[in-house]
Amino acid sequence: MELSTDKKLMRMVEIEDVVIESPTVKTFVFKDILGSESKPGQFLMVWIPRKEELPLSVMISDKKNHAAITIRKKGYGSTSLFNKGKGEKIGIRGPYGNSFSFDTSHKNIIFLGGGTGLVPLVRLLYSIKRHQCNFTFIIGAKTRSELFFTQIISEWAEGGKIDLFITTEDGSLGTKGYPTDILRDFLSIHNDTDIIYTCGPEMMMKKAYDLAKTNGVHIEASIERYMKCGIGICSSCCINDKLVCVDGTVFNETKIQKLTEFGISYRNKSGITTQF
């Protein structure tokens, strides 16, 4: 079977590896050239046959020509995927969307993420870690058992150096509280921070954006919206006049400034504007 090289068409892939990241999070590895070449921040539309199709960020895989996705078990779709095993098939299309940018003049870089929002951040770190930068990675979670990717992140320090901060809401690991608390404190000390990359709950990203603005630091946030088509045709993912699936998912401070709905409202499955 030849591998499809048309990102618009759905391609069936076989799950080759399943990594259990936490009791509720798994990473699935499969062979896919297009996926393996994704830029950090891009996502795939992942079809779980007979069940659902979900937008999922592309995770890294250390196998050549392979890509991966990391899923947190939540509702119907994610649970269907979570229950898949090695050898089973899923459909993917994409990668879609834009990606995080990297300015080589930046030296002090913060990653701020929570939950599966870590996926694109990990892919980004992976792609820029060879640069001589100070990387600060702040991870937030509700509780200790929900943490994952901490190992992989702390292992990577090639060109630069990586500081890892962990917060849990119940204090079961790392600092008790929210990752944005750490960010606030960090920014107040390190006024040489160049940029914050963030992905996770929108209220967290909104706080990070406000902090970035106050501190005059660049920020790029990967925004999530309900997606049906993933290709800019249905507008279910819109935020103001932008389509998250094609104009995003990554927006920088200049763009976010115009997104009056950011951190305020989203559209539900019917397209009705709903407050966070």
Binding site: L9, M10, M12, K89, G91, S235, R267, G271
Partner: protein, 301 residues
């Protein structure tokens, strides 16, 4: 950029004949404004029902290659109440697409938009994949007649009726629409179609059956417009498979006074609207066509 290829259709003056089809980026006022800025001559909203609809579960759209899609969104929409608020400040050239499962619903929907600044309405008689909506209604000629009469009683604004290739004769449906007072016909909607994944042995779309759009249906749409324009006096909006400026010309030569584009935006992005308009203008120039009206229905002459 200058998107001027002025046309007049059903009493409406549009700056150009390229209209964004229903269901394509059709839910948000901010997006409508952007589409207008990008060049669209007009925009048709997503088909709006009386009550909100969540639509089908994903996958709701699948690319079947050769520049074509099958979709079964399931008419997800915020409902008339919510959508009338969405567009309450609209001033752009917007047509609201209407869909209902019952005759009486339509009056209720139309009234929600009665005080708004919109161009008019498009009645979706031809959604091929939602039962008791669209196609099912479009197949009952008496019902079609009644619904159009009702809507026209409730609004003085132009009403376009969107027809498709379903179980009944498209020409008959359109004639009934005309006789009931429709101001124009939009042809065509998507056609019932299916994509099966042979590895997992199941249909890809959650709803199994969806509507085929894109390149595949272009020669069908052109034929319908050609035949409709022989039988009707009211103007026709051509729709289905437009990918290049030459496709627009083809539709207009077959008898369309304007066109709608849909799948193109999924395939080539939102800025393809501006590009196709630029190409269309260039074509008219090199072909020495000073008023695009000249070519409407020219193959009939």
């Amino acid at each position: 950029m200058d998107y001027d290829i002025p046309i007049n259709i059903a009493g409406l003056n549009l700056r150009n004949p390229v209209i964004v089809a229903s269901g394509i980026l059709g839910l948000s006022q901010s997006i409508f404004n952007r589409l207008y800025k990008i060049g669209a001559g007009a925009i048709v909203s997503k088909s709006i029902s009386l009550l909100p609809r969540e639509g089908y579960r994903n996958p709701t759209i699948v690319n079947v290659g050769t520049m074509s899609y099958i979709n079964a969104v399931g008419l997800a929409n915020p409902g008339a109440e919510s959508f009338s608020k969405e567009i309450s400040k609209n001033s752009g050239p917007l047509l609201v697409s209407l869909v209902g499962s019952d005759k009486d619903e339509f009056s209720d929907i139309v009234r929600k938009f009665s005080n708004l600044k919109i161009l008019g309405f498009e009645l979706n008689l031809s959604c091929p994949h939602v039962e008791k909506m669209g196609m099912e209604i479009g197949d009952d000629l008496n019902l079609v007649y009644d619904i159009i009469k009702l809507i026209k009683k409730d609004t003085g604004k132009p009403l376009f009726v969107k027809v498709g290739l379903g179980k009944s004769d498209i020409i008959e449906v359109a004639k009934v629409a005309e006789s009931a007072g429709a101001d124009g016909i939009t042809a065509i909607n998507t056609l019932r179609a299916m994509k099966i994944d042979i590895e997992t042995r199941c249909p890809v779309l959650e709803n199994k059956i969806g509507g085929l759009s894109g390149s595949a249906i272009m020669p069908l749409g052109v034929r319908c417009v050609y035949e409709l324009s022989k039988s009707l006096r009211i103007p026709i909006i051509g729709c289905g498979g437009i990918m290049r400026h030459s496709d627009i010309v083809e539709y207009m030569m077959a008898g369309a006074s304007a066109v709608q584009i849909g799948s193109l935006i999924g395939l080539k992005g939102i800025y393809s609207i501006g590009r196709i308009l630029r190409d269309l203008r260039a074509h008219l120039e090199v072909s020495s066509i000073s008023d695009i009206k000249e070519i409407i229905g020219i193959v009939h002459r």
